[in-house]
Symmetry: C2
Subunit: 656 residues, 2 copies
């Protein structure tokens, strides 16, 4: 390959080294995996370790294989919804407790109301899945049918709730675990944070592995819950109703019973429904035919949720469960039903497992929504960028960190997080279904009236619930979400405006053919000393013009003369200008000097070469003044000046 | 001036615009003040405001006028030492209080011991001033005579104590003020911080104004103190001994009286002597003959300190003053002597004033010591750089910020800061005087034996005191200083090593004549899109070679083809290479491509142009990936590659 004639460039470009690239066409190279591998033994070892932890890199073409069969999809998309039976009943009772245990009879009516709402929403979303086989997240549907603002409000609401899903689910899982092993209670917060980081790591591996990892615990949980409900019902029918013992009732501020308390209990119970939209968001992850499989999965999921939620609430009511400081409601019911048997501990473990994994739903959807927003320019572009394993790394890491930041101030207490929860989901439910109504009126396909009616009912119901949430839970924490959503929307609009302005400022008119520069030019090196960085810049200058000027700002006249002598001795043919600065400033006199040079010949382009020492350590910032940066900021953007930074690295990585 | 022939460069350089520069010789321009003025109405307004606050810029030649007459020098350099009478007596009593008021009789013996030590140190430093008319700070003397390590230990100790001087003096001043106006006590910390920032601002104006501002309060304080002492003595002689009333005694942990407690009381009282070395450090600020004026000033200062300190201690003893929660000792004595007269309030005000101004001594010396260390390469260079007003701005600002950082955790309580105080001063006293002994043995000028004896006695005495400090006050806070000093020394050695390594790595051998580059070269623009920044880089590339290559890493093959088409259409004659990256990485495939290019012709230099969007806002960091920086870090320093950043600014400051 070597030994070609120096001038024969075309030939060289067409024969690149085959080690790193596949040569496809003139000037078109496709990188092989080897091109992404770091060189050097340390870099190689690190890459090997990363691949062991997160799997080998996947090329973009491998995406199609990352689809999920229904049974895996159910696990990935339903762990949130399913697991909420672990805290929804408790959330209702916790609120009712304020008016005394006498009113616990309202538990079943409230639960039935919620299941009714669930049925409505499920059928409503089945319409969405059919209409948006490419993924019908609330943002997409609201954006397409109701406009940008509605879309962004839906997106912001969803993003908030994804964060809260992670916070509530993992906190609840650790609370469940501590119900069985009280010694762990003081360690709750560190365990919660560790669990979130674990889920994050699993997600950085990519989607396919996630499905495999999460299927086991999900099905174990569903199975054990059904066994518990059946066992409990049989015992009730046999006259041996399970009775809760050993619960230490929680102390809560006393309130009189009234409509507001009832609505708050209902609102808190609606946390059971968060995550219902997950399947609709994730349609493209299903195997073909995607929308059919997604609809089936959604229906199965809602039925299972309804059964488990009603069963748990019923058993909690008959067994005398009460919100306690030492045991979660579900743990009380399970203990009363199974007794202190291995089955009890297995159910606690499975609940804990599915709750921690429930965060997975958010880890699947938050990055997906963020990437859609990023592609539309509403979020920083890095959220749209997929990592080696085809996962949206930025979104995954951001979700984990924000969730941890939310958990810490609340100390990981589920009952403190619940009032913030679900409001975002119902806002996005409402906008999404309202958008669907509009969709049907515009599309008018087969059976559009029926679809529009279903979606309209769904939108009306969830809209009313969202208003109930805002009113009933406002002072209990919902205000935080109500404040954050508009801030997020504003931030997203700001991001898009910034991108648009940036693009407009940089845009080259597409019809213009840009000619080569023809103006005369001067090349000036701004030097603080005669060192290798300056020599490199002078050499670079010589590739542009025959005669390079070096300008030096001297605070001390003698030092200026020494500089001139050294340049004239060591870099013959370079012209030196010394600018003495009696007021000890360095930047502005240099700029004024360049302005003077420009004024003398306004037609010429001045190319300013700035030798720059590349920072090797963080402390270099303290040791060296960043004059180059200041000069650059002052000069860049002037019409007649082109600034070129010439970075120099102290230690040569190869030659050293 | 315009209209010259384009090639006629020499002529243009020799006739710069007279608006900004004085033309001295071929290629030598001296900046006028106008060259430092910002352009534009906003910049001009800001500069005017800055000059109003901090004074007009001073050129380096104006330095000689910044010398101080003796009476001003006394105010500038003595406020620290003088003001310590406000807290030294209180510090002794506070420590003695632990063993009960019965042992307050030790106050006078301890005070006399301290004055004895003061006399010894004063005469010792008079030798130093004579031997080092250029400024005989502890660092200079110890460094010159005992070596680098001794010098750095002395310097680190001094820097610590300058910080503590600011903290103790200002805290004590505010405590004095709150003694007379109790309502201010809860606001102590904000008032302390505000006062430090005020002193900082005064110092940024430069030294001369400082002398003028500080002379008044200093002489007012000295005068009032003498009036108080004389009044008190007359009343004692007249049988009308002043009696303290209304003091609420402070509660302290009880200790048995013993040698350690006595030594601690003595050590705390030695805080009176901090600042004694200020005059020796500041000799060059005196008017000529500098060393003679400095010696006189030093003697006057010590005599006044001795008189005021002994007078205060005596009156505190006879009047029954006791450390209190509501009143400083000096305030008690003044109230007992003067009664609640205007004279009392005037003394409180003057004490408060001189204490806050005492910080001035540190603001005069800390930046001076820091600048000497910076010139020797032991501290970041910016500490050696003087601002517009000939003040060492970096040192002034650093001192203010560090002092504030020390005050906050101690809540501005003087008695908590005192145990940390003075140990640094006595360490540097000892090293400085030991260095002087060695100096006399080497120099052997007239009367060297007597000088060596005086310095030897001083070194021995202060050395013993320093050991007493370390032992007696160790657990009361002195350990902090004992830990910080070696850390500072290590940091200073590290800084010098870094500068030395940096210089060695960048050094050009002074005997080498560097020839022009003669290797063949390729110019490659790394582009992510076809935008103005890329067009600018291509144009810059055309100034170097006829044929410019553009390389583009494409994650999506279609996007790559669009890129190629657009370049070929809009930038004819530019050669395009597309590198497809199926694994979605951008940086490493580009680097591998450049390596391939290099391997094909190892003799050629590859000039890589990196178009860069200059960040306009802090949020640009979130919105745009900094790939250019990553590519630069990976490429710079390779032997055959020269990297040139081509920054582009979105908004043109002039053309927009």
């Amino acid at each position: 390959m070597h030994g070609l004639k120096p001038g024969d460039r075309r030939v060289r470009v067409r024969r690149p080294h085959a080690r790193y690239f596949r040569y496809e066409a003139p000037g078109l190279f496709v990188a092989k995996p080897s091109a992404d591998e770091p060189s050097g033994p340390l870099g190689h070892a690190l890459a090997t370790a990363r691949h062991a932890l997160f799997g080998r890199p996947l090329s973009s073409e491998e995406e199609a294989h990352e689809r999920l069969p229904k049974w895996k999809a159910l696990a990935v998309f339903s762990s949130d919804v399913m697991s909420s039976v672990a805290y929804a009943t408790e959330a209702i009772l916790f609120t009712l407790l304020a008016a005394g245990t006498e009113i616990f009879g309202y538990l079943m009516p409230i639960s039935l109301l919620i299941v009714g709402l669930l049925i409505l929403v499920t059928f409503s979303y089945r319409q969405t899945i059919r209409a948006y086989p490419g993924g019908g997240g609330s943002y997409i549907v609201a954006h397409a049918n109701l406009g940008t603002m509605a879309g962004l409000v839906a997106a912001a609401a969803l993003l908030c709730d994804y964060v809260l899903t992670v916070a509530v689910s993992v906190s609840s899982g650790v609370w469940m675990m501590a119900s069985a092993v009280p010694a762990l209670l003081p360690l709750s917060v560190p365990i919660i944070i560790g669990s979130i980081l674990m889920v994050m790591a699993v997600n950085l591996r990519g989607l396919r592995e996630s499905g495999t990892i999460f299927a086991g615990p999900t099905y174990l949980f569903i199975g054990l819950m059904l066994v518990m409900i059946v066992t409990g019902l049989v015992r009730v029918l046999a006259g041996d109703t399970p009775q809760v013992t050993g619960a230490i009732p929680a102390a809560v501020p006393v309130e009189a019973f009234g409509l507001l308390l009832f609505l708050r209990a209902f609102a808190d119970g609606c946390s059971a429904m968060t995550g219902t939209e997950a399947v609709a968001n994730g349609v493209p992850a299903f195997k073909p035919v995607e929308w059919v499989n997604a609809r089936t999965t959604m229906l199965v999921m809602s039925i299972m949720l309804g059964v488990m939620f009603l069963g748990t609430s019923y058993l909690a009511g008959v067994s005398g469960a009460i919100p306690a400081t030492n045991q979660a409601i579900l743990a009380q019911v399970a203990l009363a039903t199974f007794g202190s048997t291995p089955l009890y501990y297995l159910l606690v473990a499975a609940t804990m497992g599915i709750l921690i994994l429930a965060a997975q739903t958010s880890f699947a959807d938050f990055p997906r929504v963020a990437s859609i927003l990023a592609k539309d320019g509403f979020m920083p572009r890095r959220f749209a960028f997929r990592g080696e394993r085809l996962a949206f790394n930025a979104g995954i890491v951001a979700l984990a960190l924000i969730a941890i930041a939310v958990i810490i101030p609340f100390g990981g207490r589920v009952e403190a997080l619940i009032p913030l929860y679900a409001i975002g989901v119902f806002v996005s439910f409402t906008l999404s279904q309202a958008g669907m109504v509009r969709h049907w009126f515009v599309a008018r396909g087969m059976g559009w009236r029926r679809s529009a009616l279903i979606n309209g009912l769904g939108a009306a119901a969830t809209g009313v619930v969202a208003v109930i949430f805002a009113v009933a839970k406002f002072s209990h924490g919902a205000w935080i979400v109500i404040v954050v959503i508009p801030i997020l929307v504003a931030a997203m609009l700001f991001v898009r405006r910034e991108y648009a302005r940036h693009e407009a400022a940089l845009a080259v008119r597409p019809d213009v053919v840009i000619a080569r520069p023809h103006r005369s030019q001067r090349v000036i090196v701004a030097a603080t000393a005669v060192d290798r960085a300056v020599v490199q810049a002078v050499q670079a200058g010589h590739t542009m013009v025959d005669e390079v000027d070096v300008v030096h700002v001297a605070v001390d006249p003698e030092e200026g003369e020494r500089f001139r002598d050294q340049i004239m001795r060591q870099l013959p043919g370079v012209h030196v200008a010394i600018v003495e600065s009696p007021y000890r400033t360095l930047v502005r006199p240099l700029i004024r000097y360049l302005e003077v040079i420009h004024d003398e010949d306004p037609e010429a382009v001045i190319i300013v070469l700035l030798p720059e020492h590349l920072e090797a350590h963080w402390w270099d910032r303290l040791l060296y003044n960043q004059n180059a940066g200041e000069i650059r900021r002052a000069l860049v953007g002037r019409e007649h000046i082109v600034v070129l930074d010439v970075p120099y690295r102290r230690e040569l990585p190869e030659a050293a």
